[in-house]
């Protein structure tokens, strides 16, 4: 459904390592929470850190092992891998203020 290629297409700005923000969003198929989370996050990123981020969307249903490797319990889960420190955000990303705080974006 959502995969790496899909999101790279949507990202027009340069190479991976140059991104300031490296984000991974774990979702479960097309569940309402997942769909909302994707829409909310994309909108937020486009608004605040346009061109400075890479976003990877992973369907945990498709990759069972990931759940254990990434210590996933609650979904949707957003992991901010860069900039450090790593942060974990759960929920449908509807609380924009919290998401921005979690990503360390000042606005």
């Amino acid at each position: 459904m959502h995969n790496d290629e899909h999101f790279h297409e949507s990202n027009e700005n340069g190479k991976n390592e140059t991104f300031q923000y490296v984000l991974s969003l774990f979702v479960t198929g097309a569940s309402p929470n997942s769909v909302r989370a994707i829409i909310n996050l994309k909108q937020l990123c486009e608004t605040h850190i346009k061109g400075k981020y890479s976003l990877e969307i992973i369907d945990v249903y498709q990759q069972g092992l990931t759940a254990e490797e990434e210590q996933i319990i609650a979904l949707p889960l957003l992991i901010k891998r860069l900039p450090l420190p790593e942060r974990r955000l759960i929920g449908d990303m509807s609380d924009t203020a919290k998401v921005l705080r979690g990503l360390g974006i000042t606005y």
């Binding site: 774990f26 479960t28 569940s31 929470n33 909302r36 989370a37 909310n40 945990v60 249903y61 069972g64 092992l65 759940a67 254990e68 210590q71 996933i72 319990i73 609650a74 979904l75 949707p76 889960l77 957003l78 942060r87 974990r88 955000l89 759960i90 929920g91 449908d92 990303m93 509807s94 609380d95 919290k98 998401v99 705080r101 979690g102």
Partner: protein, 582 residues
Amino acid sequence: MSIEQQKKEDPGLINKILHKTPTGITGLDEITGGGLPSGRPTLICGAAGSGKTLFSMEFIVRGALEFNEPGVFMAFEEKSEELTVNVASLGFDLDKLQKDKLVKLDHVHIERSEIEETGEYDLDGLFIRLGYAIDSIGAKRVVLDTIENLFSGLSNQLILRAELRRLFQWLKEKGVTAIITGEKGEGALTRQGLEEYVSDCVILLDHRVCNQISTRLLRIVKYRGSVHGTNEYPFLIDEEGISVLPVTALKLENNVSAERISSGIPSLDKMLEGKGFYRGSSILVSGTAGTGKTSIAAYFAHATCLRKERCVYFAFEESPPQIIRNMQSIGINLQEHIDDGLLQFHASRPTLNGLEMHLVSIHKVVNKFRPRTIILDPITNLITVGSVSEVKAMLIRLIDFLQTQQITVMFTALTLNNIVNEQTDEGVSSLVDAWLRVRDIEFNGERNRGMYVMKSRGMKHSNQVREFVISDEGLNLVSVYLGPEGVLTGSAREAQQLQEETGLILRTHAVSRKDLEIERKRKVLEAKIASLHEEFESLQDELNKSYVEEELKKEIIEKNREKLTKIRHHENNTATDNSSSE
């Protein structure tokens, strides 16, 4: 059609009866009548350190090893490596089990400070993770230890509760037998009220300290659709895992044996119809200090081993080497039985464990070693850990258990002379089948041991007090001397015996003297008779002599007269004159 018939004719009823999954934990499957409900979640709750994690881990490992049911252990508290190390001491090799795909460990790390909640979420991640783990090894068993940790990691209670309800439902649909552990809360079984969601089977673990001695207890709070024991059952955690002790068989329907076994002391057997005790019976040997109770017990053990039967000796007072040394002095060598593998010593201070723990450990030893005879020496010391009634309750259970196994048990008990209500022997005497009492008989400036059979169910036993003699050659029972001065024992008895022997000699001597006198008198009389006889003969001779003389005289006179007559006829006148003048 009656209900009964309906029941009989419904072929589905058998299938409808609750299936159970054996835990493999010693004793638990007996209490629950087969194990935990199959395909349903069971809640195990208890305070910190009550053994929840170990309990659930054993469920998983035994399932994998003994019942070929792979299991998933999801740990919310300990890391997989920590768990592996923790249970390695029980002989569980989790690394190997994981490699063999029999067990899957998954550590769930959840830390509130690392997580920002930004809206609606669910626990799909946990479901997926668990589902993946279950499917990867084909698990039949699942443990969630302790799922309540989610509550400290996530703040939205509403979501959590809804998701937990969904989780337990999902586990049921998966058909796995699950254990969910929960920390004991104030006034509730668990802090987060998990009992609300898991309602099929709830087991409570407790860890109580009483008189500085701790006892672990297990209780089945509820078990839907099944009968179960409702008592608190003590359990033990040792190097072999958990063992739960089923308290007592509720019915008194043990098999009994008519077989008799020797006590090891022939003279004691003689007091018991000459055959000894019944197999599978319980024997109490009580007595004051230093009366030889341990010696009697050791003899019994010795006799058991000589029959090539196994015996376990539980010593609560002396160490095994001490007992072996002491018994050598009365002529029995217990060491060789140990070397032959027939005798086992288990020495422990009574204060090492609570009473229940002692009972559990006795159970374990008995189940492992399968002895025909066990000895508890002495039970009195158990009083230091519990009250008389508790000791009695424990012994009832022990005797009960041993009887079902046809194991003969001998207890020794110390009697304190004055304190009546502290006496264990009085307390337990109604439980035992045979009761031997050894007591001091103080007399004539010395102390001796007297022994009698207070009771012995099912046989005609001697009512005599016997003197109990311990010598280099061993134990013996000697008949005491009952005389006008009462019961004589020890040197008084021996003196009496000597006196009797002397008397006998004197009497025989007197008799022989009288015999001689009679003989002599007889001889005297005989001599007298002989002399009288002589006298009589001489008298007779005399008489005979005078008689002959008379005859001769008569003859001679006759002759003379004839001669005179002849002369007168010849010379008539002169002859007639002569004759007339004479």
